[in-house]
Amino acid sequence: MTVTDPVDRHLAELERRLSGPSRTRRSMLREARDGLVDAVAAHRRCGLDAHEAAAKAVRDFGSVREIAPLYQDELVARQGRWAALLLLVVFPGLTLGWGMLWRLGVRWESEPASDLVVALARLQDTASAVVAVVALVLLAVTFRRAAPARQVAVLVSLTGVVGAVVCGGTGLVMNLANGSAGRELVEANPYAVPAFGCSALLCALVLRSAVRTLLVAGSPVPTAAER
């Protein structure tokens, strides 16, 4: 098919309007193309020439303004699901990982810890657990057909941002509050730097996912007047 083919033009316009997880987007567009190719073949069997058949298939498919919001809603729902799944893996993973590292000796030697550090550690564990529970609930909501995809995606994003900022921030403050003990830990324990680096990377990954999900959820939808 050439670039002037009505099917190609229609799909290019549809693709231009969509944002979301690239694998799902590609798969949905490929499926739409397959369907349009089938429709063109069916119209050709009924006696239409190639161009008329392609034009009729595109007309029957519906205008991009009418169809794109349906595709975009689905992409937003999938993006929200992936983001919720990431939270569900990262936050319990960080809690379990640091618990294990603590037992393996990746900890400050200035025991007993100050009241501030104990309070921050509790806040971090609680925040992590709350994020995991909220993520699980939101993940379950994505299995409902009638769930408001955009609102769910925004909630997942906000949960991720709050979780990353609270958990990352408390971790940073705890190390600063311990003064030289943090530096001594890094110097003495070979696992400390990879552990801190991995935690920072996961927090950055959560923030990146949250921003991306917000952008996908906020992607413009044609107004009723445009459709």
Binding site: A32, D34, A39, D60, F61, L70, A77, R78, F143, R144
Partner: protein
């Protein structure tokens, strides 16, 4: 039939045409048109996002497979999908019976209870 009238029932209609076996997207559209006697005037482009929505809800499973020498995305009704279809049928029977009872011309109705 106007597309707006169909849209709210599209999920149930799709589940119904997949009841007798897996189909790819265009075959589902053809089955909808055949079973409705050509009365459904839904834009075909609305069916594909609906299939993904049903798949996300675990009522359908979708996989890319080779059909007739071409790679197609084929959908199969899951156990949850069969259950949802049964519920949809029951809800529709109840709803249509109620609407039918109200819309039926007075001559066809049983005598009212007023003395």
């Amino acid at each position: 039939m106007r597309p707006d009238a169909v849209r709210g029932h599209l999920d149930g209609l799709i589940l119904a045409v997949l009841e007798d076996g897996p189909r790819h997207g265009y075959a589902i559209i053809e089955a909808l048109q055949t079973r409705s006697g050509g009365a459904l005037e839904l834009p075909t482009g609305t069916v594909y996002p609906a299939l993904r929505r049903l798949e996300r809800a675990a009522l359908l499973s979708g996989t890319w497979s080779t059909v007739g020498g071409r790679e197609r995305r084929t959908y199969t009704l899951t156990r949850a999908g069969r259950h949802a279809l049964a519920n949809q049928r029951a809800d529709w029977s109840e709803f249509s019976a109620v609407v039918d009872a109200v819309l039926r011309p007075a001559a066809g109705r049983p005598a009212a209870g007023m003395p």
